[in-house]
């Protein structure tokens, strides 16, 4: 009970769900990177996923739960914090906090908005029916041709742009999120604080760049 009300309890829930989400984006990234292996890579991956059947739905429900908790508390804490802080100082100065820390809820919401779009785009496939895998020919191995869908999508500057912007938001979110998570779990102790923050940023940048690379390289036709 206390957990859902307490200032620390809710932060911990944020951190746990945040961490699970990081777990998700890690797996998802590995899967997505298979696009660079050509049609055989990503199409096989997609096929494999679909073959899991009900497991996929269980997984989706878990994800929904994680997002729901993460977002509910994220927004709730944000609103409480707004209420606790009055008007600004005439001279407003911060010393150590970062842009990414100050914009967590916004980058989070951008990611959320993106997520909805992403689901409509690649899962439900209704945003661009002309290039959706359901509507185009199967690949040589009789699989849905996800590869063509993805490459065709990202060769479209508008779609690639949305993905790149969203991935920048994710990068920013993780820039603060990862080290913040260590602190919330109480695992940072002492002077190592700086190191934790630095490592968190590096990890975030790795994720961010890897994710951005997919639309970017496809858009730039470096990978075809």
């Amino acid at each position: 009970m206390n957990l859902f009300k307490s200032t620390v309890g809710r932060k911990i829930l944020m951190a746990v769900t945040g961490l699970c989400l990081v777990g998700f984006i890690s797996v998802h990234l590995l899967g997505n990177l298979s696009v660079f292996a050509g049609p055989d890579g990503i199409n096989a991956y997609a096929e494999h996923l679909h073959s899991l059947g009900p497991l996929v739905w269980i997984f989706r429900l878990i994800m929904l739960g994680l997002f729901a908790v993460h977002i509910t508390f994220g927004v709730q804490l944000y609103l409480e914090n707004k209420a606790a802080t009055p008007d600004n100082y005439a001279v407003q100065k911060t010393l150590v906090t970062t842009f990414s820390a100050k914009t967590m809820v916004f980058t989070g919401l951008i990611v959320l908005a993106f997520l909805l779009y992403h689901l409509l785009h690649f899962t439900v496939q209704i945003t661009n029916p002309d290039i959706s895998a359901h509507n185009i020919a199967l690949d040589a191995a009789n699989r849905l041709d996800v590869f063509t869908m993805v490459t065709a999508s990202f060769q479209n500057a508008f779609i690639a742009g949305i993905y790149i912007v969203a991935m920048i938001a994710l990068l920013l979110h993780l820039m603060h999120g990862i080290s913040s998570w260590v602190q919330t779990f109480g695992w940072s102790s002492g002077p190592s604080q700086d190191k934790v923050t630095a490592i968190g940023k590096i990890v975030a940048i790795v994720y961010g760049l890897a994710y951005i690379a997919i639309p970017l390289l496809l858009l730039a036709r470096i990978v075809k």
Binding site: T7, G9, N81, T85, L95, Q183, G186, W187, G190
Partner: protein, 251 residues
């Protein structure tokens, strides 16, 4: 040196308040910041105006009474220094200085630069103590506390309760203040028996008093005149997590 001051003036808690401009002339670099304000006040009094009200008492950086945000920084620009220990040699002729009160919903302004910080006392009353009786306790050396632990507790215990951490926090959270006390007592054998209860009670009080939630900006640590580390917030978080574990009393 001559300075231009923009000072927050507010007659009472209900008043809206605004910045007013004053000139401070012939300020000596050896003066403390508060002595500079004393001089300005003497001038105001002589011209029949209400002097600037500000909190202060010990003027040696330990009571935690002084509390001013100077050019956007609680306690001004010198690191690990309270306003009363800040000296004018940190400033240059012609500088413009903005002086404002601590701002947080939990710290309503009472007059000019004076705010009500009683919320901090309430957090302490929630559990910032060891429930020992007066008298009838063990010999002081009965429980050994190795130096590193005593030092850790002392690092946390140095908090002067000024509230700069809250004034600096973008969320007006009091986690550094609370974490320092939770960590001090949790580290010591005397404080351990009540550790679970304490961390729950103090963090609950923190929200009830209208402080925000910590989102790890670490502005508090940067503003703290005593250099209290955010590792004590991590310790508080750890203590909270531990308090969720099933009771380990063994009965």
């Amino acid at each position: 040196m001559d300075l231009t001051l923009h000072v927050w003036r507010q007659k009472g808690p209900q008043d809206k308040g605004k910045l007013e401009t004053y000139q401070a002339k012939d300020v000596s670099p050896d003066m403390s910041f508060l002595e500079m304000l004393d001089e300005v006040n003497d001038g105001l009094i002589k011209s029949g105006k209400d002097p600037i009200a500000f909190d202060h008492d010990c003027r040696e950086g330990i009571c935690g009474m002084c509390s001013q945000v100077i050019n956007g920084r609680p306690h001004g620009k010198q690191e690990k220094t309270t306003v009363c220990q800040l000296h004018m040699r940190q400033y240059n002729d012609g500088d413009e200085i903005f002086i404002e009160p601590w701002r947080a919903k939990a710290f309503p302004v009472q007059k000019d630069l004076i705010v009500d910080r009683s919320a901090l006392d309430v957090i302490m009353q929630a559990g910032g103590y060891v429930s020992c009786h007066t008298g009838g306790v063990d010999d002081a050396n009965a429980m050994l506390i190795p130096k590193p632990i005593a030092d850790y507790a002392m690092d946390a215990a140095e908090c002067i309760g000024c509230g700069a951490c809250i004034a600096a926090c973008p969320n007006s959270s009091a986690m550094l203040f609370t974490g320092a006390k939770v960590a001090q007592l949790a580290a010591l054998p005397q404080g351990k028996p009540e550790a679970k209860k304490r961390v729950k009670a103090m963090t609950e009080a923190l929200l009830e008093e209208g402080f925000g939630n910590c989102t790890n900006h670490y502005e508090c640590e940067a503003a703290c005149p005593k250099g209290i580390s955010v590792k004590f917030i991590a310790k508080l978080n750890r203590e909270y997590l531990k308090s969720l574990l099933p009771s380990s009393t063994g009965v």
